[in-house]
């Protein structure tokens, strides 16, 4: 179908370039946008990464896997309407519901028109549109997709869950013990993050990027900084770039350790959880000693990093890694060697590779089901060009495969941290950002997958429009598929093996 693929790409590129760096954004007419939506039906190359808005305008980000290129497209939405992409890109459905809730733009021909982030509890509707309207109505009852069949009943779970985790509502339709359908209803932690970023300088808006999803604070802050630097033409010093990667790999390590322990714990096997917790705590303390904050929040800023690594930093980090690497083989043997654990994780919550590809799900969710995408390799960014990160890929797509990918990444990240510390360039760690207009996009591989930030600055250098896209947008829908035909009791395992961010997508 290369004809179709070229058709969609050529159509997209026929728009007027808008000067977004390093990946161009093309402005289409509403008619050309509708034609693009049609052309995408026959195209299997262009993956949808994100869909968002601005008053009266819709934007999309695509990845051409064949070209290794990121392409952005926009179109005006006259009378608040634009052609839906969800019929041809299922991942677009939640973005379209968000476009309606935040910018008041409706997708014509959309697969799903129900509200998403707007639960009817804000003082206004369409808060990011040109003219938000006051909202005086009582909150409506949520609607869930129906399931028909003998003996089907519903289990409502949440928004407050039993563990120390983020809030969201899960509606299970079950038949006996088997899940016929799971539907997630999110939006509970919507904080109006995009609205808070508008009108601020990239410098002061960086703290919102760092708080989009606390567990990915480094990756999001980096992607945001990358977008701001691309927009203004600033180049962060080489030492800052290496320190960012160092922090990002440490973030990957502490999160992978955390979830490895939790997956075992959700199968009622406490010992790996205890060990992973202790190893992770050592990593967090090393981060605090090296960068002054356990999660390294606000350490990456536009123009570089906020503080240089402490003189004793490398030594404590290496000590934490030594302890971790010394214990991983034993932990792996325990993980492999306990039939009671393997019985719970192998074959559980499997997602097919075709579905993963259709949603363009990134991170370990994609890599555990045959989709080898990793933003560090493609489109690629400094300093990874010289580090050659290994990207493990497995075909099975079950809880076990997701876990094994993460264990492999844990070891690879430790190797990268050592390499980064060895080769740490000397020099400055920060440059100041020129105060000027521009538009940029940044993509950074966080522990969950690629974090994408788009930023448009007006002439004075303040933010006119922004969109932070967490990788969970394209992974959440797959969790619903993963639990289908599994038993309810395996949901915690499936959920933890995905560990999607609630705050990241609730914005």
């Amino acid at each position: 179908m290369s004809g179709g693929a070229e058709g969609a790409r050529a159509l997209l590129r026929s728009g007027a370039p808008q000067g977004c760096r390093p990946h161009e954004r093309f402005l289409l007419t509403p008619g050309r946008w509708a034609a693009l939506a049609e052309a995408l039906a026959a195209d299997h190359d262009l993956a949808l990464l994100a869909l968002w808005g601005e008053p009266g305008m819709v934007h999309a980000a695509f990845l051409s896997e064949a070209e290794g290129a990121v392409l952005l497209a926009s179109a005006p939405a006259p009378e608040g309407r634009y052609a839906a992409l969800s019929p041809v890109r299922p991942g677009a459905a939640r973005f379209e519901r968000t476009l309606r809730d935040l910018w008041g733009l409706s997708a014509e021909g959309a697969a799903d028109l129900r509200p998403w982030l707007d639960h009817g509890r804000w003082p206004v509707t369409a808060p990011l549109s040109a003219r938000p309207a006051p909202n005086g109505l009582p909150p409506p009852q949520p609607e869930f997709l129906p399931v028909e069949g003998e003996g089907v009943h519903q289990i409502p779970v949440g928004p407050i869950h039993a563990g120390v985790i983020e809030p969201g509502h899960f509606r299970f339709h079950v038949q006996g013990e088997t899940v016929a359908r799971l539907e997630a209803r999110l939006g509970y932690v919507h904080k109006g993050t995009i609205g808070l970023m508008l009108g601020k300088s990239p410098r002061s808006a960086a703290r919102f990027a760092a708080r989009l999803s606390g567990d990915s604070t480094v990756a999001h802050a980096w992607a945001f900084a990358m977008a701001a630097e691309a927009a203004t033409g600033a180049a962060p010093p080489p030492r800052a770039v290496a320190l960012r990667a160092l922090m990002a790999e440490l973030e990957r390590i502490h999160n992978h350790l955390n979830d490895w322990g939790f997956v075992c714990n959700d199968a009622a096997f406490a010992w790996p959880h205890a060990r992973c917790g202790a190893l992770r705590e050592a990593v967090l303390r090393a981060c605090a000693a090296a960068f002054g904050h356990r999660l390294m929040m606000d350490c990456v800023v536009p123009g570089g990093v906020a503080v240089d690594i402490a003189p004793e930093g490398p030594e404590v980090i290496l000590a934490a890694l030594d302890a971790m690497e010394a214990e991983i083989p034993a932990l792996e043997r325990v993980y492999d060697g306990h039939a009671s654990l393997q019985d719970r994780v192998v074959g559980t919550g499997a997602v097919g590779s075709a579905l993963v590809a259709r949603f363009a799900a990134g991170g370990f969710v994609g890599r555990a089901a045959g989709r080898g995408f990793d933003a560090r390799r493609l489109p690629g960014y400094a300093p990874y060009d010289d580090l050659d990160p290994a990207v493990p890929v497995l075909p099975q797509g079950d809880v076990d495969a997701r876990m094994r990918i993460r264990i492999a990444e844990l070891k690879e990240s430790a190797r990268l941290v050592r390499l980064l510390l060895e080769r740490l360039p000397e020099g400055e760690v920060k440059v100041s950002l020129p105060q000027r207009g521009g538009e940029g996009v940044g993509i950074v591989e966080g522990f969950r997958g690629e974090c994408l930030h788009w930023l448009a600055l007006e002439e004075g250098g303040l933010i006119r429009a922004a969109f932070p896209r967490d990788p969970s947008w394209l992974q959440w829908p797959l969790l619903e598929a993963a639990i289908g035909n599994n038993i309810v009791a395996d949901f915690p395992l499936c959920n933890k093996s995905f560990n999607c961010s609630y705050s990241g997508v609730d914005l």
Binding site: H119, R121, W122, P123, V124, P127, P132, P159, I160, A162, G163, V164, I165, E166, P167, G187, Y188, V189, H190, K191, G192, T193, G195, L196, R207, F208, R211, L212, S213, G214, D215, T217, N258, W271, A274, G277, A278, R280, E281, L284, R294, L295, M297, A330, R333, V334, G337, H338, S501, Y502, S503
Partner: protein
């Protein structure tokens, strides 16, 4: 093999950190909020129900870290429970999003008396960086009577532990409390 490792762990040094000191004034101020009956009922342990009311999940990471072997909460009689119906403490994080307000109020309503409300993290104190957004109420105090605030973004597990220990201290019978005080004076 797991058994030899478990056996070895029995004879090796514990990984657990010593307890942090309890801020005296905080414990006293908290004690003043409790009547004798409540003090008796709560006793020397606390069941904690954590509620995320709009956090960025940074606070949850640190609260989870608090459950690790390094902090070993249960040695103090502190434990996390799955339902507010089993809880003495609601440990609330986040700037209180408008979309979570009703759920938080319901959780509070089904927590039996006597109960504490702890606002953990800068967001829970007053909305933090999210203050002023159309989507947040601006702190847990907008909906519930807050007994203790633990600032920080996020508060470290040690800071969280200090706060929780202050609650326990406030629940201690007066005689025991003064004994503790004199011990620390002598030291």
């Amino acid at each position: 093999m797991l058994w030899p490792r478990l056996a070895r762990a029995l004879f090796s040094k514990p990984l657990t950190d010593p307890a942090p000191p309890v801020p005296e004034e905080v414990a006293q101020a908290l004690a003043a909020r409790l009547d004798a009956a409540a003090q008796r009922r709560l006793g020397r342990s606390l069941a904690i129900r954590q509620v995320d009311a709009g956090s960025c999940n940074g606070c949850e990471l640190e609260i989870n870290a608090l459950s690790s072997v390094v902090y070993d909460l249960e040695r103090f009689g502190l434990r996390f429970v799955a339902s507010p119906r089993h809880a003495d403490v609601l440990l609330v994080t986040g700037p209180l999003s408008r979309n979570m307000r009703e759920a938080l109020e319901r959780a509070w309503a089904c927590t039996p008396e006597p109960k504490w409300v702890v606002a953990a993290g800068d967001c829970a104190v007053d909305g933090g960086v999210f203050k002023g957004s159309y989507a947040v109420e601006g702190g847990v105090g907008a909906a519930l009577p807050v007994d203790l605030v633990i600032p920080g973004c996020p508060p470290s597990p040690t800071q969280l532990l200090e706060g929780l220990l202050a609650l326990l201290e406030a629940q201690a019978p007066p005689r025991a409390a003064s004994a503790v005080q004199s011990v620390s004076k002598n030291a």
